[in-house]
Amino acid sequence: MGRTKAEIHPSMASQHTATAQAAQPLTLDGVTHSYGTGFAVDNVTLEVKGGELVALLGPSGCGKTTLLRIVAGFISQTNGKVIIGDRPIDVLPPNRREIGIVFQNYALFPHMTVAENIAYGLAARGESRAVQAERVAEMLATVRMEGFADRKPRQLSGGQQQRVALARALAIRPRILLLDEPFAALDKNLRLDMQIEIKRLQRQFALTAIMVTHDQDEAMSIADRIAVMSHGKIEQLGSPVEIYDEPATLFVNNFIGSSNLLKGRVEAVGSDGYRVALESGAVWTLAAKGRFEAGAPVLVSVRPEQMVLADEAAPDRLPVALKLSLPIGGALIHDATAAGGEDIKIAVPRRPGALSTGPGAAFAALAPHARPSLFPAASS
């Protein structure tokens, strides 16, 4: 027991300087899983660097939980490898993987006190009572829950249960931290607090972490990188900024933020980008990624805040009929219809005093900093 501990955890001796521990990368290599019919996880390859927090983001049923459960060892994948550091862990049962996991419903043991919950993993490792007590106190301090040691989970609020669940997972000094929708059951204000808390702990313990979520704002705010999943596959892996500004596929584009999709056709390919004639009447020159030939039908995706309104016509402005405008915070969202019948949303900064403008005709243009994305249109 002691030998394996030392082997897996060189830093065990220096418990109080957990930050000094070198975080280990987690690699998924071609991981595939099928529950019988179809693939819940389909050939996922992903490298989470040591100390990095990657968010798995995707719609319901895309395989996020399945992927997490494979890493934790609760289900064994049909195919592929899971590697921590440079060691494949597929042959290890869940109790030998040294992975901390926080469940959506926290899964605190209801028949144990907070202290017993936190000590559970240490007791399972055969740590002495003294070590257990010391670590429990330390973890309670870390999650700021001193004074709650003798409570039962049912006597705690959602946020407090969340903290205990984190303390319990971190008490075993895991190599990897897995979080399955950790904030789903919390209300909005508490969510932000807990996001900051988790980020702080993840930094402090230098943990390599994967967090599952289907809330894009959550992923944007705390993840170092985001993996957008769909139908068991990773559609795109990148920093929050990359995902938002340069979505690789139409799916990612539509899943993250809101955007206007305008149909068009590539007129010419020049050194400064593609010249695209929109069906709604404007011609834009776009320096977008991707490879398109002249004549190819495309979809241009523009975020609402990347468009502006003007009064006069111009070749790069498309005529729109304003229907409704809603003040949302500091922005004014115009709901408009383009000449081709497409619905467009345009967000402009709201001038003080001005609330909304009535319906009428106007011209929509790209904002100076705008970087629309181009996607091949489904051939129709």
Binding site: A72, P94, N95, A107, F109, H111
Partner: protein, 288 residues
């Protein structure tokens, strides 16, 4: 607001109605349970079979005779054995049940409930066929060459426990399966991820959290095994005497009603003591 006020105003009336709803059953209990119980208690204080003289003679005779003390002990032991045997078989099955698909669970429930569809008498006689000297078990064992002479299973405690285990199994399984199915998988997974082995997870998480279901099942099994008159007398025969058979013999054969009353009350206390021991255990199972 007004609805709440109205509700509080109406509550005394409602309480009265609820109380009266319980009256028929309450009355039935008084007439058919409390009154006979008091009569039984009264009869037990007659000193002789003819019920001519009051005294503690029947109680003294019962509780000073080693034979009758052994009958109490054997009855208790039978109940404990039945509980232990059903527990050992039921927990693994409950874990399998938990892991099964919904369709498989329906099949299992059907198989588990099937014995309840036949009468205890029929099941008991079926066990005679199985346990007899020329029965299924002995023929199999002898066919396999494991024993040269047939084993004596009928009229033995082992045979009786075997039969009772099968007969009482549904009583243990139904409450256990119900609670096992409700157990949150995440708790088991959490335990495993925290480093606990499968056994440790069973004893630290699954067992404590399913204890209320087990206590319900164990109570039912204990109560029905200790009072299983038919199985006890058909399989146990004349060689094994338990309290129910003793009561029958004293009241219907010997006609010593005071003594039968003492035996009856003793059986009642025996069952009650088992149930109380189990509910005392249940205090450690306060899970939520």
């Amino acid at each position: 607001m007004s609805a709440a006020a109205a509700a509080t105003g109406a509550s005394p009336v409602r309480d009265a109605v609820e109380w009266r709803l319980a009256a028929p059953l309450g009355l039935t209990y008084v007439v058919f349970f409390a009154a006979p119980f008091l009569i039984l208690l009264g009869i037990s204080f007659y000193a002789d079979a003819e019920q001519t003289r009051l005294g503690f003679d029947s109680w003294l005779k019962f509780y000073t005779d080693a034979f009758y003390l052994k009958v109490i002990f054997d009855t208790l032991k039978l109940g404990v054995f039945a509980v232990v045997a059903t527990t050992i078989l039921a927990y693994p099955l409950a874990l399998v049940f938990r892991a099964s698909s919904p369709r498989m669970q329906r099949v299992l429930i059907f198989i588990i409930l099937m014995p309840l569809l036949t009468s205890v008498v029929i099941r008991t006689f079926a066990w005679i066929v199985i346990l007899a000297r020329e029965g299924v078990i002995n023929q199999t064992l002898m066919g396999l060459g494991l024993t040269a002479t047939p084993l004596n299973l009928l009229q033995t405690e082992l045979g009786l426990v075997l039969a009772l285990t099968q007969i009482e199994m549904p009583l243990m399984l139904l409450p256990l399966l119900a609670i096992m199915n409700q157990l949150d998988q995440n708790l088991i997974d959490a335990s495993r991820a925290l480093g606990a082995s499968k056994w440790r997870t069973f004893f630290r998480v699954i067992l404590p959290l399913t204890l209320p279901g087990w206590i319900a099942g164990a109570t039912l099994v204990f109560a029905s095994a200790t009072t299983a008159f038919i199985s006890q007398s058909v399989i146990g025969g004349a060689r094994l005497v338990y309290l129910p058979a003793l009561i029958w013999q004293q009241s219907m054969v010997v006609y010593n009603w005071p003594f039968a009353a003492v035996a009856s009350l003793t059986l009642l206390f025996t069952v009650l003591s088992g149930i109380m021991a189990l509910s005392w255990l249940g205090r450690f199972a306060r899970t939520t």
